[in-house]
Symmetry: C2
Subunit: 404 residues, 2 copies
């Protein structure tokens, strides 16, 4: 039996999405297991705009050490405890599968070769680690033909990068903080599928691709240890918001969804500022985007858009497809005409717009100036599906690394 | 008896200082009486650098309506409930004095003419209203020869502008929030006189003289009504900091004073950001000043300076005179050579500095660029005295308004 697999290369390839939280994950109660201080909730973004493509392969003929090649660069897996933890969990699940059916090839004993490519710049505040670990876990699970559900796999992905657990599903995804010390109840679950509220759109204003001042793992631990206001966020603010935004999603109530999203982003950045030393992720361009969104909503006479900011200055602005002209159209009119990103997916209702949905004299003129100078690229996207199995492998049938 | 005063013009003139809080006043529990949600503490700044000069005069020959002329511009007193409240309290105290000694002229029945001049731009985030109301109350109290102590007068000044109560005293001044509904226990008191710790210095980085986005009275009410994190600040954070910073002041413990000051500024701005809609007073230049201060402290190997920001982007950086070269010298080296304000009072240890106290390669280069572009003026100052009675009147013996 083992004969057939002696020289074979086993492969599975998946894509995985980025997710952008509307209730923010910030703070670990257990840094090793990546257990959060509070629950969080995100929108999975369409892989038509942003995705990681990962091929997991294994073979008895590979060199003994597992390999990971990310955007063409070999990574030092041994120095990444998080990657090691994910691979160890996945191998252990495979061992259980193999123990239950001795006819299966012993893939758990073969070295892995994992090749991954993003279609967007890493470390630009675009949650690349979430998509990356989700793709890695999904691809290896597929390679190993594991029976675990996405909910169960989210426990593994969480150990790679907390927010990665939310990228294993599409639509609207909650990560339940859980309370057990071993983290077994700290899992992601789908609150609503993409099909429940498919009209959700987002435009990302890419403010700067500079590396972050304070990496988020370090930043969140500083906040937990030093912010005097953080305990209130964890104890009461987030639990109330989680319940309220889940209701808003169930009811497809955009104004409520939007206000909760904006307030949670502001509250998260407030606890960063309250940390010692203080942490700043938003800059003057981010603040101009906040002003733009409030001004569009005021001019529209209803809440048609919502900003949120992760651990970086990029603004993610959510809106509904029916308000594309009002929101993305106004953003387009505000920015320079050579701004990149108004082509491609999700541009149907925006590509031909030449006049803004909201008259620019309703937008603070300083905000317009700051945004025009500070934003050179946008990404149009929308709510999307979870990981998708594909045949577009990054490793050949004989084990060579392929470039896309 | 009344004959002599029939045509006489009675005058009293005082100067009053600016104060800059190190524990911030933000939030009113009673907007009419200006009763705060929390206690606060400030450093009174020297009037050699910043002061309001106010002459209060009254005369039976003046037109019937009270007059207030601020920086050459007549003000509409009737539309300022706060000014009316202060004047009514002062008149009522004068009436008590007159009732006790009928030989005194009935100044309480005479129209007032009050003339006030700042030596710095108003509404530039420099607490001009605090100095202004403190000077007004002190000048009228002197005109009326009231027996009330500064502590008692602080109750009146508080009704004009909350933080004005702290400008009636020199040195280090606490405003006790009090708990009574009528505000009678909401008073300012000297924690330590200037002479206790006279080495305290401050350099103000004047970032922008633009009008504020959100006036502080409106902003603080928004925060009280909407910030989910504000209650924690009021209930526990500020009381602990008040006790700790008073101890630091008694012990002349600059590192503790500095850390509490910086953390309280950050926490205050965090609650602003957590408000709905969010309030931003700090901008990228403010954040560069934060970075500069942390970098100077790191390079010095001890805490030699502390930033604080009021409801605006200006940075106030406290330091001790002995560290002038390290702090003000580095600030001077960072800024453009034509930056205004390195002459005049408090420049003794800085005027001849040509090399920074801290090598500029220890300072984040982006922060240096942002500060160099964004700061055109500094104010050198230090801890100072309370209001001072002077003979330099802004109203002539015959009642004409004089210009300085």
């Amino acid at each position: 039996m083992a004969g057939a697999s002696d020289k074979a290369v086993f492969r599975a390839t998946t894509t995985a999405p980025v997710n952008i939280a509307v209730i923010k994950y910030w703070g670990k109660r257990d840094p090793t297991l990546n257990l959060p201080t509070n629950s969080s909730l995100s929108v999975t973004l369409s892989q038509r705009s942003l995705r990681t493509l990962t091929t997991a392969s294994c073979s008895a003929v590979y060199p003994a050490a597992d390999e990971l090649i990310l955007n063409g660069k070999p990574q030092d897996i041994q120095s990444s405890k998080r990657t090691l933890a994910c691979l160890a969990s996945l191998r252990s699940h495979r061992q259980a599968v193999e123990a239950a059916d001795p006819s299966l090839p012993k893939l758990s004993t073969f070295p892995l070769r994992i090749v991954s490519q993003n279609n967007f710049p890493t470390a630009a505040g675009l949650a690349s680690s979430a998509a990356g670990f989700a793709a890695l876990v999904r691809a290896v699970a597929d390679l190993y033909q594991l029976p675990q559900t996405p909910l169960e796999l989210s426990r593994i992905a969480r150990q790679g990068s907390g927010s990665a657990c939310r990228s294993l599903m599409g639509g609207y995804v909650a990560w339940r903080a859980g309370s057990l010390a071993d983290g077994s109840d700290s899992l992601a679950e789908e609150v609503a599928p993409q099909s429940h509220w498919p009209e959700m759109r987002a435009v990302v204003l890419v403010v700067s691709a500079e590396k972050k001042d304070v990496p988020s793992t370090e930043g969140m631990q500083t906040t937990v240890a030093t912010s005097n206001l953080f305990a209130a966020r964890v104890a009461s603010v987030v639990p109330e918001r989680m319940a309220a935004i889940e209701t808003a999603i169930q009811n497809r109530d955009f104004p409520s969804f939007a206000e909760i999203t904006m307030r949670d982003s502001n509250g998260f950045h407030a606890t960063c500022l309250d940390s010692w030393p203080p942490i700043f992720y938003m800059n003057d361009v981010s603040r101009a985007a906040v002003r733009l969104v409030h001004d569009i909503n005021t001019a529209a006479g209803r809440t048609v858009c919502a900003y949120t900011f992760d651990a970086g200055p990029n603004a993610v602005i959510y809106y509904l497809d029916e308000d594309s002209e009002l929101v993305a159209g106004t953003v387009k009119a505000v920015l320079k005409s050579d701004t990149e990103g108004f082509e491609g997916p999700f541009n149907e209702r925006v590509k031909d717009i030449t006049t803004p949905g909201v008259s620019l004299d309703k937008i603070d003129s300083r905000a317009v100036d700051v945004l025009r100078d500070g934003v050179n690229r946008v990404i149009l996207t929308g709510v999307g599906e979870g990981p998708i199995s594909v045949e577009e492998h990054l490793v050949s049938e004989t084990g060579e690394v392929l470039s896309q």
